[in-house]
Symmetry: C2
Subunit: 123 residues, 2 copies
């Protein structure tokens, strides 16, 4: 298997749009908070500051999580997967501790039902 898969060099594999996928996990509870994307600049800013930065595909710009909401994500640990096209950020969250713009704590606040509908799991 390739060095990228088993080695000790961090060499992120950006996709055709220059992005890797990022999953933010609450370091205290292990809950998945959100999924977003990072370009090289977002990754560099995150590693330099210790606070999560993402790349907004809709706004096409670098974005510091929590800059307006106060929901700053301080990175406790960053993991990378075997093919280095995805990272997991274990974070402590500032402000009210949430991550979702809807007001929910996690963006994953609905379960798909067997009938193909959605059911809130956070109420």
């Amino acid at each position: 298997m390739a060095e990228q898969e088993l080695g000790t060099t961090f060499r992120p594999k950006f996709d055709a749009n220059g992005l890797v996928t990022a999953v933010a996990v609450d370091d205290a509870t292990g809950d998945i908070l959100m999924l977003a994307h990072m370009n090289a600049a977002a990754l560099a800013a995150t590693m330099e500051t210790g606070e999560a930065h993402y790349y907004s595909r809709s706004r096409r710009s670098l974005w510091k999580k929590g800059e307006t909401s106060g929901q700053i994500q301080t990175v406790r640990q960053m993991l990378v997967d075997c093919d280095q096209d995805a990272v997991v950020l274990r974070v402590s969250v500032g402000g009210d501790g949430g991550a979702c713009h809807t007001g929910a704590r996690s963006c994953f606040f609905r379960a798909v039902t067997p009938e193909g509908g959605l059911r809130r799991i956070d109420e």
Copy 2:
């Protein structure tokens, strides 16, 4: 906010390549096992069979996880995020309980060090 963000209708938002992002989580431990992608067919097969199917971007084909390795992922719960372009699958894993083709249990078996290297966290 839109119905897609707060409503009870499951209406996945596929990207330009017809994919949503999927994160598989070990239902017993909460550990993130892997990140992959699903097209509409993979999503339908997963919901119909209760076992995780993904779409391989490199092989350009539908792929039932564990078909050759025995690491079948039985879906206990599927969550969707606010904008419905990502799902979390809480799964029970067959075979040896792992998910990564490298032999590691989770694909996220390396942490990025402050120096920008990688360190195995599963040994």
